[in-house]
Symmetry: C2
Subunit: 359 residues, 2 copies
């Protein structure tokens, strides 16, 4: 088992990464105020993984109740969040009860926000079950639900007490789910660690083949990179924006096609290519760098080209993104492979040209 | 104008107290990230006070939008909270928009929670318009909405950037609203400041007569007392529980009669008498002390005796209160006038006896 520490002062927490961790209640017990938890999961994850978690809790003498939500981003709303509150209140959970999120990003986001808001804040533990949530959403404490007028518009920064990333959970993932996680893996290397770009070039096939040892290594270094970014900018005032590399373009793709048409990772992958091409166009990257990024994305089975929405529509959608400050289009670009930079002064025609080239 | 500072490190904020403050946009402007606010108020307060606030904002060059909620505790729920989010999103409020709560405790609690959750947290300013909210709910950062299974079950600790307590707002209050605020005023003196017990004995008639100078003095020292308690225990782990003096009994009255039958302050007043009598019964107060408390409550026009629910029902309701830790009944009592203490070992028959005597 590897352990990555997320250093946030008195909100610091460990991420345990490895195989066979789900059933080890003894990993959880030291992080509880008292041995009572409420597990939140969904109706797809529950049949696959709940029994193993519950058996481990039982062995460790931890009392539990279970709240099973309907699966899917479509249920990341008030109504479903209220199912969590209903469950907590009807089983008399108090401020010393710890919530456990067992599932992917949606379950983690909703459980985290429920934990932030229930009785003004209770502790929670993340057990992310997808590659995307293991390397991304379970690190950093961003929690939220959607509003009909915008994604993730209602939420909180609320850090978990502990994250357990069991790579065994990834074996049962549909291939498309694994690939959507790889987009964020590639992103982390590109914005922070040139050596990991090389590591990915060597290990991409092993990751796609669910090699547990390589997966655990990847999850650990991804969490370490994200934890490093979050540690210096917990509430996204500055540097944390680097994590949005590829995302402003990507959100335009998701919104333009209708959410769910392309997966988040697919949209981010095509978005990263656009941001990389733009970085090269602005003279920061060489053509060979762009080729390496494009090759990594393609080897991960992710789209390197965006859908043909037209550059005007892309830019309109990008300007609608909530990361827009004062109407300026802030973009995360690469000054070299492994090093991100923020630019808010790129002329719109140049952005449009690159979009057209990449679609 | 008096200013009380709430010392909470980087979340510290000032409370300005005085007459004629509502229309002074210049008091607000220094606390905004950018000159754009969203005012949240209700349909009772809006016709009385919104125009004055808006005129001041206009004078100070602050852009604003307005969200008017239905009045009353019955609307302190998800549906009404969503009206705030709908309003913020439809007018394109971003993370640099500051919310202003103009109203009593319900508006303050809901606006504060909306600010805590909107885009994972935006700043907010409290302009409390009732005595209760000026001396109590606007200090300390507790925000919440109700759930059908419990009051204030969903919320956050989210501190305002600024509080403006304009005592002119109190003049239009119905007398019963003023009295409900006086219950918390008496409470603050009893738990923290023996000299203020004497001050209240001297000034009770002036307060009931809406003497602006006395009201401003009272609001200021009440905010200072509450701010002092909150500063040492922001998230209610320990000493902040002193603020619940009279409230465990009081909540039993409110829940037993059905919320809204007695006002919060009326229930707290009768609850304070019970807690005071119990303190005397346990040998901590003299009969003369009890008589002073009873007299203050009666002079404020508040009930000194609780409704006859029967001591068994009281105790059952008190045990249901969320402040119960591990099934024990934790009570805030007085070790002298001006000094609170927490006891969780008072035998139930003694509590029952005092309840029966006080109803």
């Amino acid at each position: 088992m590897r352990t990555v520490n997320v250093a946030l002062g008195d909100r610091s927490y460990p991420i345990h990464v490895g195989a066979g961790l789900l059933g080890q209640g003894s990993l959880i017990k030291p992080y509880l105020k008292r041995p009572r938890v409420a597990i939140v999961t969904n109706d797809v994850v529950a049949p696959l993984m709940l029994e193993k978690l519950v058996a481990g809790l039982r062995d460790a003498g931890i009392a539990y109740s279970t709240i099973v939500l309907p699966d899917g981003e479509a249920h990341k709303d008030w109504q479903t969040l209220n199912l969590i509150f209903d469950g907590l209140l009807s089983t008399h959970c108090d401020r010393s009860t710890t919530l456990i999120a067992l599932g992917g990003g949606v379950v983690g986001d909703m459980t985290g926000f429920a934990a932030a808001a229930y009785q003004r804040g209770v502790p929670f533990i993340q057990i992310p079950t997808t590659l995307l949530s293991q390397v991304d959403s379970s690190v950093g404490g961003k929690t939220a639900i959607n509003h009909p007028l915008g994604k993730n518009m209602i939420g909180a920064f609320h850090q978990p007490r502990l994250v357990i990333a069991d790579v065994d959970c990834l074996v049962s993932l549909p291939p498309r789910e694994l690939r959507t996680g790889l987009a964020e893996v590639i992103k982390h290397a590109l914005i922070r660690d040139n050596a990991r770009v090389g590591w990915l070039e060597e290990n991409m096939e092993a990751l796609l083949g669910c090699d547990r040892e390589r997966l655990a290594e990847a999850v650990a270094w991804n969490c370490a990179i994200k934890a490093g970014v979050v540690a210096v900018d917990e509430t996204e005032q500055g540097e944390r924006a680097h994590l949005n590399f590829g995302h402003t373009f990507g959100h335009a793709i998701e919104a333009g096609l209708g959410y769910g048409e392309w997966s988040h990772g697919e949209a981010v992958a095509a978005g990263m290519i656009m941001a990389t091409e733009l970085s090269a166009w602005l003279g920061m990257l060489a053509a060979a760098d762009v080729a390496r990024v494009r090759s990594l994305v393609e080897r991960a089975g992710l789209p390197a080209n965006g859908p043909k929405l037209g550059s005007e529509r892309y830019i309109a959608l990008m300007q609608h993104d909530k990361k827009v400050a004062d109407g300026k289009l802030r973009l995360v670009l690469l000054q070299s492979l492994g090093s991100a930079v923020i630019r808010d002064s790129v002329p719109l025609p140049e952005i449009a040209k690159v979009i057209d080239d990449c679609c």
